[in-house]
């Protein structure tokens, strides 16, 4: 059964459509890139799936359920902007996640932090922007969720940190779970993806396996994206 199923999903802000009749189904074990220019509706779609926004019409189902308390237990969401409180220590965040999510694997998170040489007693205030993003990704990926929603996980970090983040996503691959990654940094990410979904003005412009796109068009997803979204 599909982990995520959207049917005729729409979201209006006033009379402007941010999402306009999205039909999308994502099977378990897939790593999917949600790609589109700024203001195309990527974050709106992710926020609806995370249960932070309600759709204006249509439905989103996660494991057959509408977004709510039950789905939040199986959806691990990395927001675009950090919500970490600067006065907290890394260890506070670990305790917080341990408390909040029954699927949080503390040992796994601790190991990932250790591999990066991040001391749990450090306060978040003392971490660089890149390190903070890594901590947040570690918290999100250390959950044993069914659906990971990563909103721009590689924006704003250096290429080495980017490699680390992509590696973490590969390392935590679980055939029972799916990962949705929204980004416009396609070049860096495309070899990690199974499928790409192009979103344009709130509508799905393309939904295809990466290797099919390369085979049919003889170009990378990045090059094809530039063609489809040429300004």
């Amino acid at each position: 059964m599909a982990i995520l199923n959207c049917s005729k999903l729409s979201k209006y802000y006033g009379n402007k459509a941010a999402l306009n009749g999205i039909d999308l189904s994502i099977e378990p074990g897939r790593i999917v890139g949600l790609l589109g220019p700024n203001a195309s509706g990527k974050t709106t779609l992710i926020k609806i799936c995370a249960g932070l926004l309600t759709p204006s019409s249509g439905e989103a189902y996660i494991g057959g359920m509408s977004p709510g308390i039950e789905t939040k237990a199986v959806v691990s969401y990395l927001p675009e902007n950090s919500y970490l409180n600067n006065w907290m220590k890394v260890s506070h965040m670990l305790a917080f996640f341990e408390d909040f999510y029954s699927d949080f694997n503390l040992a796994k998170a601790q190991e990932m932090l250790k591999n990066l040489g991040i001391d749990e007693n450090q306060s978040l205030k003392s971490l660089s922007k890149g390190t903070k993003e890594k901590v947040q990704l570690i918290l999100v990926m250390a959950r044993e969720a069914k659906l990971y929603l990563l909103d721009e996980p590689i924006g704003g970090v250096d290429p080495a940190a980017r490699d680390y983040i992509l590696n973490t996503i590969i390392k935590n691959y679980n055939p029972e779970a799916s990962v949705i990654i929204s980004t416009h940094l396609i070049y860096d990410i495309e070899q990690v993806l199974d499928d790409v979904v192009f979103i344009k003005n709130g509508e799905i412009a393309l939904n295809t396996p990466v290797d099919d796109l390369r085979e049919n068009h003889g170009m990378s997803v990045d090059a094809y994206f530039r063609e489809v979204f040429r300004c």
């Binding site: 897939r30 490699d163 992509l166 590696n167 590969i170 990690v192 199974d194 390369r214 085979e215 003889g218």
Partner: protein, 126 residues
């Protein structure tokens, strides 16, 4: 090992080719155990399903076989490996001849150039 992927072709095909090279060149010797899908994926920084697909294709070609509990192994059949090697050689030569043709050499002329070069390098070695 550094993996290189060009942007214009499917990644699973390129993985398949590069693993094939490692088998033919003996980096993964006949009968040797292949790394797990997850390790290969991490190492090449690609999607695990893509690795799985490349390995399945190599199994179909008879270069790899999987044993249900213990993993995947390179074939022990050296004739399969030799056959793959000569197929690869033909592909490389064919591509090379095309390039030579593009700059105006016939196959015969190219062969002469190669014979000349071969003589020079064998003299150099002795």
């Amino acid at each position: 090992m550094t993996w290189q992927f060009s942007p214009d072709r499917p990644i699973y095909l390129q993985l398949q080719e590069q693993i094939k090279l490692m088998i033919v060149s003996g980096r993964h010797p006949p009968g040797g155990k292949m790394p797990a899908v997850r390790d290969l994926a991490e190492n090449a920084a690609v999607n695990p399903n893509t690795v799985q697909r490349a390995l399945t294709e190599l199994e179909r070609e008879g270069l790899l076989h999987s044993q249900r509990t213990s993993g995947r192994y390179v074939t022990e059949d050296k004739t399969v490996i030799e056959k793959t090697k000569s197929e690869l050689a033909s592909e490389i030569v064919e591509a090379f001849l095309k390039k030579m043709e593009a700059i105006g050499y016939s196959v015969k002329e190219t062969a002469d150039i190669i014979a000349g070069e071969a003589e020079v390098s064998s003299n150099g070695n002795t």
